[in-house]
């Protein structure tokens, strides 16, 4: 039985004891800054390092991670993050180099960038890749800017991006940030792109169609070539959201499916750790005709020497400072080297096998609308449980925590009622999947009162999100102000 650590919930502001000496100055400095710019007070915590370490180590024990157990969060590809990749990213030759160093002094780092771009091209069948975007959503934004640059160069004013209703929320948000109107089209009865709806939606106003394949139901959109033709015939570009790439490595590719632009999520497909929310990395790949719009600088090789090429007049410029999340890129590079061509293909095969196996265990108890064959993830519905026993997807998610599992993604995609979106990844064994399936089935048969009271084995019980939104205590200062008001009025 799982038990998460419980400690008192003090903040670092409540520890006390006084800081350790930090750095000792040689002599007192006079006339430091303009008098008016001199700071009066600074209320950071004062506590020794021993207390800080105790505090954060204890906090870490109140946090569930992939290294603790199964993390079947759909669409997030929470696979095991190998430790050798972390070790490499900690080398001084990775961590302690400055992005503005003379190119002669960072030839190794530039070679790594160049080779990683080449590997991602080979994996995706795209013609060129930029490693600059910091995350998947930033990759999408970059892709949308490239689409803008392309249409502008062709003298076309295209103002809309078409997106299926099952798309990740970042897709419409990224398109909107790039200034596009967003047109969502409904899925068909199979949970796939409705070809007729797509035909009706695209026009001379369409800049791009954004889609992930397999889609968020885990279903491979087998009409993808027809979709590509419809989009291209309208003069629009086809954008591939790489969030679900872990399903298809070596089996097919965005290039083979006739996509024009795509992003990779290195923190999903290529096993870089997600850091509790970030950092990630969202490289963007494009076909030849869009290469000139990629962000600057480009790493180019000439006679075995690497240099940054800034002279790209049609480039969109930069989407973030410097060359991307290098420490993340190094990990992904090492991961690809480790597995190689055959290994990566096996990763997708194992991910799809795990997913279909787990699904086969769960459909005994849970409904699963749409076709049975899935790729790396699948979406079951707690509709029956909600209707018959008032046990909703949220309740099941919370109860799962009691058994030491992260919950699946819930209530997404919205076309499945009471959705539980499950992605086991290739990292898990049959034994782990069997146990997880048994747990989910057990929950379906459990006393609803027990489920509604869950979780009990986590650091805290069910959290009051409404209270958080109403009180809006976003800093320690807010908290002190609220408690003061309460004391005064009480």
């Amino acid at each position: 039985m799982y038990r998460q650590a419980r400690y008192d919930t003090k903040t670092v502001f409540e520890l006390g004891g006084g800081s350790d000496p930090c750095i000792r100055l040689k002599g007192e400095l006079q006339d430091i800054a303009p008098e008016s710019m001199m700071r009066k007070g600074l209320c950071l915590p004062e506590t020794p390092e021993r207390e800080v370490i105790k505090h954060y180590v204890n906090l870490s024990q109140r946090n569930f991670s992939v290294d603790n157990g199964l993390y079947p969060l759909g669409s997030c590809t929470m696979k095991y993050n190998p430790k050798f990749a972390d070790a490499l990213s900690s080398l001084p030759s990775v961590a302690s180099i400055h992005p503005y160093q003379d190119e002669d002094t960072v030839q190794g780092a530039m070679q790594l960038l160049h080779r990683l771009e080449g590997m991602l091209c080979a994996i995706s069948d795209m013609d060129a890749v930029t490693l600059q975007p910091a995350a998947g959503a930033q990759g999408e934004f970059t892709g949308m800017l490239i689409a803008k640059a392309y249409h502008r160069a062709n003298g076309q004013d295209r103002i809309e991006v078409v997106i299926p209703d099952s798309a990740h929320g970042t897709n419409p948000a990224s398109a909107a940030m790039a200034g596009y109107g967003v047109l969502e089209i409904p899925s068909n009865a199979d949970g796939c792109v409705d070809i007729e709806a797509l035909k009706g939606a695209v026009s001379h106003k369409t800049a791009a169609f954004m889609i992930t394949n397999p889609n968020t139901l885990g279903i491979f959109e087998d009409q993808i070539r027809e979709i590509a033709d419809i989009v291209h015939d309208a003069g629009a570009l086809l954008y591939y959201d790489g969030a679900n790439f872990n399903a298809i490595l070596g089996m097919t590719s965005p290039g083979r499916m006739n996509f024009d632009i795509m992003h990779f999520n290195l923190h999903k497909t290529f096993a870089t750790p997600h850091g509790g929310g970030g950092p990630g990395a969202g490289p963007v790949g494009v076909r030849k005709h869009l290469e000139k719009y990629l962000p600057v600088p480009r790493v180019v090789e000439q006679g075995g020497k690497y240099r940054f090429d800034y002279d790209r007049p049609e480039s969109i410029g930069k989407v973030r400072a410097f060359h991307g999340n290098f420490a993340v890129l190094v990990r992904a590079y090492a991961y690809i080297l480790r597995h190689g061509g055959d290994g990566l293909k096996e990763i997708s095969q194992a991910a799809v096998l795990n997913s279909n196996y787990l699904k086969s265990k769960l459909v005994v108890e849970y409904e699963m609308p749409y076709r049975p064959l899935r790729k790396h993830e699948f979406v079951i519905s707690a509709r029956k449980q909600a209707k018959e026993r008032n046990v909703k997807a949220l309740d099941i998610a919370k109860r799962l925590l009691d058994f030491g599992y992260m919950s699946p993604t819930i209530y997404f995609p919205s076309l499945v009622e009471e959705a539980l979106m499950i992605e086991p990844t290739e990292s898990e064994t049959k034994e782990t999947l069997d146990q997880f399936a048994e747990t989910l089935i057990r929950i379906a048969r459990e006393d609803p009162d027990v489920i509604h009271a869950a979780p009990n084995n986590t650091s805290v019980g069910r959290v009051d999100e409404l209270y958080a939104a109403r009180e809006l205590i976003l800093t320690w200062k807010d908290y002190l102000a609220k408690t003061k008001v309460k004391k005064e009025s009480g």
Binding site: S19, D20, M37, H98, A135, D342
Partner: protein
């Protein structure tokens, strides 16, 4: 990776290909054109060797800055952020089992709120440049006008990123001049440009030239109706007046200095803070304190209706993955150094900059600092030698030289930005100066 035959058998399929029959032949790919996989030690050896001849700040003192700094990182920071529980977790969607990350993020928000004297801090943007982009579009949500004012004295990378963030909402970045004598804000030029079409005004303290310009204190007084965005170096706030005290509506900054390595420029940490009245217009994730069903203190993500996974195309930003782990690093860093430590570190930066300014200015063919002002940890040097040539010479001496400013400010074609921090010893300074002397 091995395929577990037991699962195939239970599924009743002969081989794993049966699970891919839904991928049409016309889009099939016959494997990957990559080398075969390597053993772990081979990977490690190959990557180490590839990078081994690069110069890094552990073997060569680094005098580059301009947004990324070689600061001291207490070992405690790394020991916390490399803990499996933090580094291998995802966004804390399930609050009950993710209190560690949520609690740490709340502390990061609180610490940066203290540091900047701002009400609200999000739990990170990608870096300072994208934080600036988001700040500009947020200003437009506060005041729907078309121009966003920025200093001419700013990194070209930030300008380029900003233009991309402004492209969608069709806003225009308008540059105001710097004072050629002090390097600070040219208030007259700024006043000319601050017309009624302006949605926001951006200034940096210290600025791109490393100067501490007291004119920042005047901006809100002079332009009370224009949302004010201040870009900070968080280390400098150990000693400088926080922007919340001079009227900033939004504060952004590069948080890499707070416990993260330079990493060739990433991952970084985009600091993003604002006044409470603007919180609903803010991008990014916010963690709030709440209680659980027993009344115990707890934390969760809040105001999520601003975010892309709920609001989709109407979200305040598309940001999802951020730099959470770097925010944890910042929280641990600030907790370990404490207020006195941060102040001492800030002083050491100023003191080192003064020492290096004096030494470089003493050389023939060099003029430092070019701007007559207080400096934090970097300063502009005029040199009679081409910056590129100078840096190649320094590299041969195992010194990572300064920044060629011409890419950033084209007319500054004989100028460099030199940076020194608390990690630079007097011996490092002397080495640099001796090497500069050889080329002058």
């Amino acid at each position: 990776m091995t395929i577990d035959e037991r699962m195939l058998k239970e599924l009743g399929v002969k081989d794993v290909d049966a699970l891919f029959v839904d991928i049409p032949m016309e889009v099939r790919k016959e494997g990957l054109d990559l080398r075969n996989g390597l053993d772990e030690y081979e990977v490690v050896r190959e990557v180490r060797e590839m990078l081994s001849s690069d110069l890094n700040s552990e073997k060569a003192p680094c005098f580059l800055g301009a947004g990324i700094y070689d600061h001291f990182i207490p070992a405690a920071v790394k020991s916390i952020i490399m803990r499996s529980e933090f580094i291998t977790s995802y966004t804390p969607y399930e609050a009950e089992i993710s209190q560690g990350m949520l609690h740490s993020m709340f502390e990061y928000q609180s610490l940066v709120s203290e540091l900047t004297a701002m009400d609200v801090v999000n739990s990170s943007n990608y870096d300072a440049s994208t934080a600036l982009g988001e700040a500009a579009t947020m200003c437009h949500r506060i005041l729907p006008k078309k121009k966003f004012l920025i200093p001419e004295a700013m990194s070209w990378e930030k300008k380029s990123v900003l233009r991309n963030y402004l492209w969608g909402p069709q806003l225009e970045a308008v540059e105001y001049a710097y004072d050629p004598y002090t390097g600070g804000i040219d208030l007259n030029d700024l006043a000319d440009k601050a017309d009624e079409d302006v949605c926001g005004l951006y200034a940096e303290v210290p600025n791109f030239f490393g100067t501490i310009d007291p004119a920042a204190l005047e901006l809100k007084k002079r332009f009370p109706n224009i949302p004010l965005v201040i870009g900070v170096d968080p280390i400098s706030l150990g000693i400088l007046t926080p922007p919340g005290e001079y009227g900033a509506d939004i504060v952004i900054g590069e948080g890499q200095s707070l416990g993260s390595s330079m990493n060739f420029g990433g991952p970084l940490l985009g600091i993003f803070a604002c006044k409470k009245e603007h919180v609903r217009k803010m991008p990014g994730r916010l963690i709030g304190m709440t209680r659980d069903n027993t009344g115990e203190r707890a934390f969760c993500m809040t105001l999520q209706t601003r975010e892309q996974h709920i609001r989709r195309s109407k979200a305040t930003s598309n940001i999802c993955t951020n730099e959470a782990l770097m925010a944890v690093a910042a929280a641990v860093y600030l907790s370990v150094v404490g207020p006195k430590g941060l102040k001492a570190i800030a002083k050491a930066n100023i003191s080192n900059a003064r020492d290096l300014i004096e030494k470089i200015d003493g050389l023939d063919g060099f003029d430092a600092p070019v701007f007559k002002a207080y400096h934090f940890n970097e300063f502009v040097v005029r040199t009679s030698v081409r910056p590129e040539k100078l840096n190649k010479h320094l590299a041969r001496k195992s010194i990572i030289g300064g920044l060629d400013l011409s890419r950033h400010i084209p007319r500054m074609n004989e100028h460099m930005l030199f940076t020194t921090t608390e990690v630079h010893s007097e011996a490092d300074h002397d080495r640099l100066v001796a090497a500069l002397k050889e080329v002058a």
